[in-house]
C-alpha cells in the first residue's frame, strides 16, 4: 500500500556532521589504533582487517567507536559499507549502521537499516534507529521501527529525531493505541516508552 506521508527530515541531515569522537585508549590499544588510522587514511587493504579485529585489540567496550572512526577515516563508500555490513559479524554490522550519519547524506544505505530492522538482535535494532534512519527511512518503515523497539525492549531514547517525526502522526498514534489495547487484553503492562511516544504524536498547537 502506498503511504501518503513523506519523511520529515531533520535539519541536521542536510550537512555532514563532525567526525566521530576518538575513543580514550592507552598503551598498546592506542598504538594499534594509530597504525589502523594511518592505514585507513591511506586506504591500504589492511584497514578492513583492522575494522574486523578492533574488538580484541581495543576492547569490546571501545569497538563501536573505533570501528566507526575507521570507517569515517577511510571515507568508506556505500559499496564498501554494504560489503562490510553483509560480510560482518553482528558487532561489525552495528558499527556500519552507527557510521552512516557520519558518511552519507543520501539514502544509498537505507537498505542496510531495513535489513537490521528485520533482525531481532537488539544490538542491531538500537544502532539502526539513529540519525540516518531519522533522515531516510520511509514513514511506514519508521513507524514499524518504533513499534519494533517497543516490542524488543530497545529504549526509544536510541531513536533519533523522534519528536520531529512523531509530531502529528495520527497513524503512528493508532498503531500505538492498538498495541496498548493488545497488551491490556492480555493482562500485560504497557512499556513506559509507549506512553512517551504516544504523547509525541500529538499535533503541535503552538502555531
Amino acid at each position: 500500500m502506498v503511504n501518503p506521508h513523506t519523511p520529515k527530515r531533520p535539519d541536521s541531515a542536510s550537512h555532514t556532521p563532525a567526525p566521530p569522537p576518538t575513543p580514550p585508549l592507552g598503551g598498546a590499544a592506542r598504538a594499534w589504533l594509530d597504525q589502523a588510522l594511518a592505514e585507513a587514511t591511506a586506504r591500504t587493504p589492511d584497514w578492513e582487517i583492522r575494522f574486523t579485529t578492533a574488538g580484541r585489540h581495543c576492547g569490546h567496550e571501545h569497538a563501536d567507536s573505533v570501528r566507526t572512526l575507521l570507517l569515517h577515516t577511510a571515507q568508506a563508500t556505500p559499496d564498501t559499507l554494504a560489503r562490510l555490513y553483509h560480510q560482518g559479524s553482528a558487532a561489525e554490522r552495528r558499527a556500519v549502521l552507527l557510521s552512516l550519519p557520519f558518511l552519507l547524506t543520501g539514502p544509498e544505505a537505507v537498505d542496510l537499516v531495513e535489513d537490521a530492522l528485520r533482525s531481532n538482535d537488539t544490538r542491531l535494532i538500537a544502532a539502526a534507529v539513529g540519525p540516518y534512519a531519522a533522515a531516510h527511512l520511509d514513514t511506514h518503515s519508521w513507524r514499524h521501527a518504533i513499534l519494533k523497539c517497543l516490542f524488543t525492549g530497545v529504549p526509544v531514547d536510541h531513536v533519533a529525531g523522534m519528536p520531529a517525526r512523531a509530531r502529528g502522526d495520527a497513524e503512528l498514534a493508532r498503531m500505538l493505541g492498538d498495541y496498548a489495547a493488545e497488551r491490556r487484553a492480555a493482562g500485560r503492562t504497557c512499556p513506559a516508552d509507549l506512553h512517551r511516544v504516544l504523547a509525541m504524536t500529538a499535533p503541535t498547537e503552538d502555531f
Binding site: 569497538a63 531481532n120 525492549g153
Partner: protein, 285 residues
C-alpha cells in the same frame, strides 16, 4: 561451580537449555561449526550458518548471561561433497573475526582423501591465523582414526599445544596425551563417555590438559553433562580446585591461546540493559 562448556552446538538447543545451563553454573561456551543433520548443498548455506554463529547465537547466549564464542571450519563429513568444498576458500575472511577462537571441528569422518585434504588445509589455516584447532576423532574406527590424525598433525605447521583432540575415550587417551595435544572428552547419555567413566579416567590420567564437554546438539544429548561431571568428581573426592581446573581453567587456557576470548559480556548484550521484554525472553514477535 563455574563451568565453561568447550564444545556445544547451541544452534540446536532451546532457550530453556540456556536457562538451565546458567542455573547449573555455565558462564561460557564454545560452539564449533559442524554438520546440521541435513546435508548442505552449497557454500552459501555455510556462510549463513557462520554468520549466525557470529551474530544471532552469541546474542541469544548473552540474554542468559553466557559468553559465546565459536570455532569455524568445513566439517569432515561435508568435506567429501564437492558442492561444499569452496567453503575452504572463504574461511580466511571468517577466521579473522573477533569471536572465532579456533578452527574446527576438523578431523576425520570416513578417512577419505578429501578429508585428508580438508584437514591438512585447515590446520595450515589455523597456523596462519594464530589460532588453535579443535580436531575431533572419528566415531567409527576411532583408534585408527586417531593415529591417522596424529600423522597429519605431525606434518602440519600447527604445534600440538594448539590442538584439542576431542571425543576421546579410554582406548585413545594415552596416544592422544603422548602427542602433547589437549584432551577433550564428550559426555553423552548413551554413546561416547559417561560421567562415571570420566571420573575413573581422571583418577588414572589426572586433570592436566583435560577438557570435558557436553557436545550437545540435535541428537540425544544433555547440555548439563558438564555439571554432572563436576558433581561426580566432587563425590569421588576430587577438590573444588580440580573441578575448576577441568571445567573452567583448562578451556580458558586452551582457547585463550587465540587471544580472542572475552569472558565479560559487552554491556549492551547483558539482560540488565533491557527491560522485561527483550526479543528472546519474550519469544520474538
Amino acid at each position: 561451580m563455574r563451568i565453561f562448556d568447550p564444545h556445544i552446538h547451541m544452534t540446536s538447543r532451546t532457550t530453556d537449555d540456556y536457562q538451565a545451563m546458567y542455573d547449573a553454573g555455565v558462564r561460557a561456551v564454545v560452539e564449533p561449526s559442524f554438520w546440521l543433520g541435513q546435508p548442505r548443498t552449497s557454500p552459501a548455506s555455510f556462510y549463513d550458518y557462520f554468520d549466525s554463529l557470529l551474530g544471532w547465537e552469541p546474542f541469544r547466549a548473552a540474554q542468559y548471561g553466557i559468553a559465546h564464542h565459536c570455532t569455524l571450519a568445513l566439517n569432515p563429513k561435508e568435506a567429501n561433497d564437492p558442492r561444499c568444498t569452496p567453503v575452504l576458500d572463504a574461511l580466511p575472511r571468517y577466521l579473522v573475526k573477533d569471536n572465532v577462537v579456533a578452527v574446527g571441528e576438523i578431523g576425520y569422518d570416513s578417512m577419505t582423501p578429501a578429508e585428508d585434504t580438508a584437514l591438512a588445509t585447515q590446520l595450515a589455516l589455523a597456523a596462519d591465523h594464530g589460532l588453535p584447532a579443535l580436531v575431533h576423532t572419528p566415531h567409527r574406527d576411532k583408534l585408527a582414526g586417531l593415529r591417522r590424525t596424529l600423522d597429519v598433525l605431525r606434518e602440519s605447521p600447527l604445534p600440538p599445544e594448539l590442538v584439542l583432540l576431542d571425543h576421546l575415550n579410554e582406548t585413545t587417551v594415552k596416544e592422544a596425551a603422548d602427542s602433547g595435544a589437549w584432551l577433550g572428552f564428550s559426555i553423552y547419555p548413551d554413546t561416547k563417555m559417561d560421567e562415571d567413566r570420566m571420573v575413573a579416567l581422571l583418577k588414572n590420567h589426572g586433570t592436566a590438559r583435560v577438557l570435558v564437554n557436553s557436545a550437545a546438539d540435535w541428537g540425544r544429548s544433555d547440555p548439563l553433562k558438564t555439571r554432572k561431571v563436576g558433581d561426580a568428581m566432587l563425590a569421588a573426592d576430587f577438590t573444588d580446585d580440580d573441578v575448576d581446573q577441568v571445567l573452567w581453567r583448562n578451556p580458558v587456557a586452551f582457547y585463550g591461546q587465540s587471544g580472542r576470548l572475552q569472558l565479560d559480556l559487552p554491556s549492551h548484550d547483558t539482560p540488565a540493559t533491557h527491560h522485561e521484554g527483550n526479543s528472546i525472553l519474550r519469544g520474538g514477535e
